[in-house]
Subunit: 215 residues, 2 copies
DNA sequence: TCGATATTCTAGCGCAAGTTAGAATTTATC
DNA sequence: GATAAATTCTAACTTGCGCTAGAATATCGA
């Protein structure tokens, strides 16, 4: 094996060897469908047939884009984390107090969920093999750490009360994961009301002495 | 079919026809193992073999106590809801302000999780058939309503700020479900620190003008 | 100790779902 | 339009797991 070929293979999966943009678009569609189904029913209960049917294909067609079900799910996790990271980076770039950033992040995540459907952000990944799981968890941990920074920033600038950032972040993640399951089935629920509830329950308590109202 | 026989069958599953107390104990052990495995890996990924192995049995032995996997999971949901309801009833009986009850309930749930392992409280149940799912969801809804009462009581007695109880309860449920997944794998984490984090993030924000500190 | 009952095991069936091979069909290029 | 490439399909193989039948073992009362 030449060193060059090795590097090509490491990047991700090799199936679409020299694929066009049109092909990549279908790959994305498959990924979205897979994320939705896996998120709704869990990895094991989500069948390749069902994922394929969601975009009018037969199960076998999926293997043209992904080598197997595991790799498809892995790619789904990666894409979800990319999206999360993009939102996170945007909020970081906009700056502001710790509490401000936290508030804007939550709003952006809700908007994203509405527009693009729920993701696999931090949920179950026990079905991945050791390397894949390690990669996803390391990535998740890096993102969580950046989220914790918001809390630390807030504790420094006085907009957030003393707390253990790691624990608080996990509590928030739990809220958000569960949100994607029940909120879509609750009729008449708007993002505004959700944000209001989160504001009252999760953010008001975190607010420190220098916190001010408003976005 | 006689009417009498019909009623006997409705109650639950019939397998352990005239079983002794010893047999019932094993049934409970199987239930606990099933709850743990299903909670950890999801219904579809949890195999009868693995559940049985957790208490040194072969998969076939489980069918002496439960007619099939679905019924086993259903019984698990029921047992979890029973436990939840028992805790809820105890807190209700002790009385106090709305915030007080909420606080004590969360503490009791954490204690329960430590002693008896995580439960299937409100998680996924898409694998149940229509009747079973309906039964579980109706029961869950009744319990949620009683939990919402705590918030309404608090809003009435001034210990909890104005909010939409149904939404806030769901946010809390999400925190708790997710908690059972990551907390056990976090080294050095105590219930005290968890309660403190919940107190700061979830309860302080809900506190109304008449709230006072302490348990 | 012995028979009856309760409990668990071994062996294997059947089915669903992941996967593959290769044919069929569409799409792109000249 | 014809040829090549890309994409999707049909059909079948394989495996793992829920589940069953019936044998084997343990438990217990007389």
């Amino acid at each position: 094996m030449s060193k060059g070929a090795d590097l090509m293979i490491l990047a991700e999966d090799v199936r679409p060897l020299a694929h066009s943009q049109k092909s990549m678009k279908k790959r994305e569609a498959i990924l979205s469908a897979a994320i939705e189904v896996i998120n709704a029913k869990g990895f094991a209960a989500a069948t390749m047939t069902e994922i394929a049917a969601a975009i009018d294909l037969r199960d076998a067609a999926l293997y043209y884009y992904f080598p197997n079900k595991q790799a498809l799910a892995f790619a789904g996790h990666q894409r979800s984390l990319e999206r999360f990271e993009a939102i996170l980076a945007r909020v970081e770039a906009e700056g502001g107090t710790g509490l401000c950033k936290l508030r804007r992040l939550l709003a952006a995540l809700l908007d994203d969920a509405v527009g693009n459907g729920p993701q696999l952000y931090f949920g179950d990944n026990s079905y991945l093999d050791a390397e894949q799981r390690q990669a996803i968890e390391a990535w998740s941990a890096r993102l969580s750490a950046r989220l914790e920074r918001f809390l630390e920033d807030g504790m420094a600038d006085g907009t957030i009360a003393p707390c253990e950032p790691a624990l608080v972040v996990q509590l928030m993640v739990g809220m958000l994961i569960w949100l994607t399951k029940w909120a879509p089935t609750t009729p008449g629920l708007t993002n505004e009301r959700l944000l209001e509830a989160i504001e009252v329950m999760a953010l008001k308590g975190l607010a420190g002495p220098k916190a001010v109202a408003g976005p």
